[in-house]
Symmetry: C2
Subunit: 230 residues, 2 copies
């Protein structure tokens, strides 16, 4: 006897979509009909369909009913784990080196993007992340001292700046940009690779309401892959 939980109904509906019972773009029976078919309350069916809608698998409109999403492209969930976890997941020992740490005035390009007043100083950090003592990723970071004054006194010996911030400061919004670049001399030197080697680059900036918290740029050693399930 099948349980009539919203999860089991979600799965059943999913199966029926995959089986071809409802083609891409086709109309699905209404909530009341499905509730009767499954022998449960409409609320329960609603919840199952809501879940599918959140995942982008169906499209719902009042009066228009529920349709199977006409396109199969979905949004991928990206994990973005801590660097330490990424390294440890490969079975290597994680370590890091702070190669630079100083208060200074950010260049105009950075300052305007972060909406900092002219003349403001920010904390600049360069960190080399290691896997089994070999370079894994090179990080450059700006931190807003006004927003996170505690960071000045934080010891970064055992916990990287990334990890310290993630465990200490909330943020309300942020963005990530992924790209590929040829290593310049500075990067190549830090990662111990050849100039021109293709490196995977991640740019991340976070905000708390309208105050800038931190921005970072990560250069991964060649061979790095970012994996995601659909």
């Amino acid at each position: 006897m099948p349980a009539t939980t919203h999860q089991s109904i979600r799965q059943s509906l999913l199966d029926r979509i995959h089986s071809g019972e409802w083609a891409l773009g086709a109309l699905i029976p209404g909530e009341v009909a499905l509730a009767e078919e499954y022998g449960c309350a409409r609320t329960t069916v609603n919840r199952a369909l809501q879940a599918l809608a959140d995942e982008g698998l169906v499209v719902r409109r009042r009066r228009g009913g529920t349709r199977v999403s006409p396109q199969t492209v979905r949004t991928a969930q990206l994990q973005i784990p801590l660097l330490r976890e990424q390294v440890e997941a490969t079975g290597c020992a994680y370590g890091h080196h702070i190669t630079m740490r100083k208060k200074k005035t950010p260049p105009a390009s950075v300052r305007t993007r972060l909406r900092l007043p002219t003349g403001t100083k920010a904390l600049f950090l360069e960190t080399l992340h290691l896997a089994d003592d070999r370079p894994f990723a090179f990080e450059t970071r700006w931190v807003n001292i006004q927003a996170v004054p505690e960071i000045i006194d934080a010891s970064m010996e055992h916990v990287s700046a990334n990890e310290w911030l993630v465990q200490s400061v909330p943020f309300s919004s942020g963005d990530v940009v992924f790209s590929a670049a040829n290593a310049d001399l500075h990067i190549a030197d830090a990662l111990d690779i050849a100039v021109g080697d293709a490196v995977f680059v991640v740019d991340r900036t976070t905000w708390l309401d309208d105050t800038f918290i931190t921005t970072m740029k990560l250069h991964y050693r060649p061979g790095y892959q970012l994996y995601s399930q659909l």
Copy 2:
């Protein structure tokens, strides 16, 4: 007077987290307490907290209560739009060229990964995607003819293989891998760039239950960025 909708409660709870009322890792009042505070049914509070839990902002455990997630790293939602949409979003006209299309036996490396029986033929496609008639991305793709026989007769003049598949065939699971690579001669030639230039690479494979549907590899022209909100 504030409406007591699950959305407004979600927002209010979010604000209280951002304001520091509840620090990272701190315990949030129980559902009954919050329901009383907001003057609504527990179900409504539950829904708001569920939403925050789905987004990874809070962690909930029976008997243990609800806590603000101790780490601010969240999962990013990646859009993965159609190439045509990516191109048109930049204000350019989209076009594509199929530079190769033939049935052939995939190499062992591909065959085993896709769990195809030895000797099986599959459809191999090479497509050049254009923005304003200039190369934008180069795609190589394998399609399982057994799973998608209709593709043999599909005209690809006006709709790319990518788009045709996305609009015609559902899938139940898939994976995406992002990486960076130096362009080899073949890629450089197709994209009209120099050998060694860093290209952004996307690998995507989709399945319907346990049958392989298609796998593709996309090489983007230098300068391409993948953007995502946190």
